[in-house]
């Protein structure tokens, strides 16, 4: 069996910051920051192989065992409910899942609420929990324009600073859940590479507290 620990990192700034923690935790792979177009990087000495994946795909790589561990946002874990271990809250990439609406929006409960979102399950679960009947419009990006064009009444999306919302005359009317990056592990890999994975968890949780 492949003894290298396969790590799926989310492409982008979060992934780069997460890699730095892995590096200080004793799993360096310097070639990864050289800015090439390669997607897979190995350091046999440290026993680790990193690869860049689309952030929303990290959980799939881990669930299916192509990666032993990975870093994924809580939003992705809530939306896809992958069957994985969630070992650590990395306290990075913090933001929140929220409902946003045009300024002065008032919900009229006589009508079905139209909700545009990338996160259909999170939106459905949230509105089911408060007993509001909704119509979900699944979009893949530029969610903010949906209420402006009359496609939806509100949106459910990730809010980091709120700048995009403000520039499009939207405001947060409800926070659904706080989001941050999590260290996840494949359930089978955890059994067979337990020592390596636990070392990473220990080092990373130490780093997080600093």
């Amino acid at each position: 069996m492949d003894k290298l620990l396969n790590v799926a990192l989310p492409k982008g700034r979060l992934g780069e910051n997460v890699y730095k923690i892995f590096e200080t935790a004793g799993f360096p792979c310097p070639s990864i920051l050289e800015g090439s177009r390669k997607l897979i990087f190995e350091n046999r000495e440290a026993g680790v192989r990193y690869f860049w994946a689309k952030p929303s795909d990290v959980a799939i790589y881990v669930e299916r065992g192509a990666a032993d561990i990975g870093v994924a946002g809580k939003d992705i874990l809530l939306e896809y409910e992958p069957d994985v271990y969630e070992l650590l809250d990395l306290d990075m990439g913090k933001c929140r899942m929220a409902v946003a609406a045009p300024k002065n929006f008032k919900d009229d409960s006589r009508y079905t609420l139209k909700v545009a979102t990338k996160f259909s399950r999170i939106a459905a679960d949230y509105y089911a929990s408060i007993g509001r009947d909704i119509d979900i419009i699944h979009l893949n990006g530029s969610i903010e324009i949906a209420p402006i064009l009359g496609l939806s009444d509100v949106i459910v999306d990730i809010v980091e600073t709120g700048t995009t919302l403000r520039e499009n005359d939207l405001e947060v009317i409800e926070t659904i859940v706080p989001i941050s990056a999590r260290l996840i592990a494949n359930k089978s890999s955890f059994k067979f590479k337990q020592e390596q994975i636990e070392k990473i968890v220990r080092e990373m949780s130490g780093h997080r507290k600093q």
Partner: protein, 309 residues
């Protein structure tokens, strides 16, 4: 009759090896040759791995199903005999939808069940057969064992509504320590409970490493009998070649409406999820009006594709 073993493919060889193993321990083969009414499965939907079932109408107008599961039918077709022990194994095709897919597949499944006076010797035997089934399949394997009595006693002790307990249970299946802390602080649950649950979730590993701390935790909670029972049933592995192959891990969680007591899951290196799963399901027996106790497991032969023995 002339017969050459070379004609068998890998999964057939595994299947025959498992049948040899089970029958050598006195398990009788059960053949499921007829169809059950859809109602049997729909009433116990949550017990099934996936809740989609292929149905058809029989000649007399009744709604029937292609089996998604063998256990329910085994219980239904065997008389209740709480005083004695009946040991059965099966090797059947079942029809299921895999997670994330939209189509049914025919899946080869093997497994065994014990009905009746299930005592700790019987549980030990089933655990041993589970480990030996894994050994049949791969060189690198692990059986993880959990005890729902201990887990549910600690969760039930938490002063919180049922849905919060459900969330805590989900955290257990994810080894999610920070989640437990968050849920407890969000719901104003005393830190003591959170810490106790976090201790239990952190207790995983070979019995030699875990049992001392687990016993201490259980004694403190008045779960003396429960922990003793767990120690008793896994004693069978002591000083055997299998003692490094089992781990205690409370992240193995099954539906508590059906399962109780010991539950377990088998993993082999290179397969991303469990290839074997089972446990005691006295509560399912009660739901079906049986007084017998029961324990059993299934091996998912479809997940073994491409594994080199």
């Amino acid at each position: 009759m002339k017969f050459n073993l070379d004609v068998l493919d890998e999964s057939e060889k595994i299947m025959f090896a498992l049948r040899t193993l089970y029958s050598s321990k006195g398990y009788e083969r059960y053949r499921m040759s007829k169809f059950e009414e859809y109602d049997l499965y729909s009433r116990n939907k949550d017990f099934l791995v996936s809740d989609s079932v292929i149905t058809f109408t029989d000649m007399n107008g009744r709604l029937m199903a292609l089996k998604p599961d063998v256990t329910l039918s085994l219980i239904k077709n065997n008389k209740d005999h709480p005083e004695s022990l009946k040991k059965l194994y099966y090797n059947e095709n079942v029809y299921r939808v895999a997670k994330g897919s939209n189509s049914f597949r025919e899946i080869m499944q093997a497994g065994l069940e014990c009905f009746g006076s299930v005592d700790s010797d019987c549980i030990s035997e089933v655990l041993m057969l589970a480990v030996q089934s894994l050994e049949t399949v791969s060189e690198e394997y692990i059986l993880e064992i959990s005890d729902l009595q201990i887990l549910s006693a600690l969760i039930e002790a938490v002063p919180a509504p049922a849905e919060v307990k459900q969330q805590l249970l989900k955290c257990f299946s994810e080894k999610n320590r920070h989640g437990i802390r968050q849920i407890c602080s969000d719901n104003g649950i005393c830190r003591e409970y959170a810490e106790r649950l976090q201790t239990l979730i952190s207790l995983y590993g070979p019995p030699g490493k875990v049992l001392e701390k687990l016993t201490a935790l259980c004694l403190e909670q008045g779960l003396e009998a429960e922990v003793k029972r767990l120690v008793d049933v896994i004693r069978v592995f002591r000083d055997t070649a299998y003692q490094d192959r089992i781990i205690i891990d409370f992240s193995a969680v099954s539906d508590m409406n059906y399962y109780n007591g010991i539950i377990f899951r088998g993993f082999i290196a290179g397969v991303p999820d469990s290839v074997l799963s089972g446990g005691q399901y006295d509560k399912l027996m009660q739901k079906l009006g049986r007084r017998s106790k029961a324990i059993g497991f299934a091996v998912y032969l479809d997940k073994l594709q491409g594994i080199k023995r």
